[in-house]
């Protein structure tokens, strides 16, 4: 409200008379510096303070030094009585109409004003809350990302241990494999050698058997029938002697 700007700055000017307002406007400099666009000055949160719904508080502050607390009220009453008595304002049927519409307006403002204001505030709050939610969600996801990154870093440190363990594992596997193959090789070699030994044994045995058979055969072949009869007679006489000796002992 420009009127209030005028009042406030008129207060500041000493010796402000009827030209106070004009002096204020005239002393404003005209584009002397480049405009400062940012940061944008904040909007006032509430409207200007008013008393009785229409009279700005600055009027009361203006008149307070000279006429005290009742000054503006006296001014108002005086004005009203002046206009009525001089019939500058004539009371007619419109006055009644004005009273009725005035009472409707005042009642409406008093009854529904706070709830409407609360509704407007709620609309703005929701807007801010939505944006805040987005911001909070972004913040939360980013902190989570940071934590996960830290965990990944810890995991990366632990990877060297993992590599060592794996190396050991592989070395053991290789060793085991080598030993197995060594074992296998010795086994195979032993088998071959055993085979050779068995072969030689077999050879010798067969030679022995063959020789025994040949000896037997030649011995049996060399026994003539005469010799056979003599040996049998000898055996019988030996037996008879033995039988006699045995009978004697019994």
């Amino acid at each position: 409200m420009l009127s209030r700007l005028v009042f406030v700055s008129a207060n500041a000017l000493k010796g402000s008379g009827p030209l106070g307002a004009g002096l204020v406007q005239a002393s404003r400099s005209l584009h002397t510096s480049s405009q400062n666009l940012a940061p944008v000055p904040p909007l006032p949160e509430k409207g200007g303070k008013v008393r009785h719904g229409i009279f700005p508080e600055e009027l009361f502050q203006l008149l307070y030094p000279k006429t005290g607390v009742t000054g503006p009220y006296m001014l108002g009453t005086g004005l009203l009585i002046y206009m009525l008595s001089k019939e500058i304002y004539v009371i007619n049927h419109e006055t009644f109409a004005a009273l009725s519409i005035g009472s409707v307006i005042v009642y409406g403002v008093k009854k529904f004003g706070p709830s409407v204001a609360a509704f407007a505030d709620k609309l703005n709050e929701e807007k801010v809350a939505k944006a805040q939610e987005v911001k909070d969600a972004a913040l939360a996801s980013l902190t989570q990302a940071v934590e996960q990154e830290k965990k990944e870093q810890w995991r990366a440190e632990g990877r060297t241990l993992l590599f060592d363990a794996k190396k050991n594992n592989v070395a053991m596997l290789l060793e085991t494999n080598y030993r197995e193959r060594l074992h296998m090789v010795t086994n195979e070699v032993k088998r071959r050698l055993d085979y050779q030994i068995a072969l030689q044994d077999l050879h010798r045995r067969m030679e022995q058997e063959h020789m025994i058979n040949w000896v037997e055969k030649s011995v049996i072949g060399s026994i003539t029938p005469q010799q056979e009869k003599e040996s049998i007679a000898k055996c019988i006489s030996d037996l008879k002697v033995l039988a006699k000796s045995t009978k004697a002992t019994v």
Binding site: G47, H93, E94, T95, A97, I101, V104, A117, L123
Partner: protein
């Protein structure tokens, strides 16, 4: 200031300078312009909310092609509602009590809807002249009747708004005069009359808002038929 009952309906002028333009521009000065700041003050928030809700409600039955009328209809609604409500204040002039203004709104907009219908879908637009399911002998008569009703629409729109507001204002004047005259003579009767005046004022507030809404709603309905 001696007022006759019809002074409030005379086109305002001062020293011969017509002030109608001033009366018509006044509602524009009362609505703040939306700022580029993200969170605005209460007035702007409420204004934006109301305009959004109203436009959404109005454009629901219309298809995509009717959405071109959103700006026109919403601004018409805000204009009419402000003019009507401002007219309830004492010693004000209500432009919407002038038949010329209301016809100036009704005839071009109605004609626009009819021409749009005739141009884009003439069969359907002409088909509206015959309601479904009429018995065959009645068809000629009904076509004539529907055509008459079509042409009466702009007159009805304009006169409805004018008559409602003029009647309301006149009633307020008369009852206020009655209360004023009776006040020194029979105070109790005057008190009753004053109560009546209060109720009438409430009614007039409602009528002011409803008439503006009805005007715009009917236009949107005519558009819906033809778009």
């Amino acid at each position: 200031m001696v007022l006759s009952f019809f002074d409030q309906f005379m086109s305002p002028s001062y020293l011969g300078i017509p002030l109608m333009a001033l009366a018509l521009i006044l509602p524009w000065t009362l609505y703040p312009k939306p700022t580029s700041q993200w969170i605005s003050n209460r007035v702007l928030t409420l204004q934006g909310w109301f305009i959004n809700r109203f436009t959404q409600q109005l454009m629901l039955p219309l298809g995509r092609k009717g959405h071109k009328w959103a700006l026109l209809l919403t601004s018409l609604m805000i204009f009419l509602i402000t003019l009507n409500m401002l007219g309830l204040l004492p010693y004000t002039f209500t432009p919407t009590t002038q038949l010329s203004l209301n016809m100036g709104f009704a005839v071009p907009l109605w004609l626009a809807t009819v021409l749009i219908g005739m141009r884009n879908q003439p069969t359907i637009a002409l088909g509206h002249l015959l309601p479904e399911g009429t018995p065959t002998p009645l068809i000629p008569v009904l076509i004539i009747i529907e055509t008459i009703s079509l042409f009466i629409r702009p007159i009805a729109l304009g006169v409805r708004l004018t008559a409602n507001l003029t009647a309301g204002h006149l009633l307020i004047q008369l009852i206020a005069t009655a209360a004023f005259v009776l006040a020194p003579l029979m105070p109790t009767v005057a008190l009753l009359t004053a109560t009546l005046l209060l109720l009438l004022t409430l009614l007039e507030v409602a009528v002011a808002m409803i008439q503006a809404y009805v005007f715009v709603l009917l236009l949107s309905l005519y558009l819906q038929e033809n778009v």
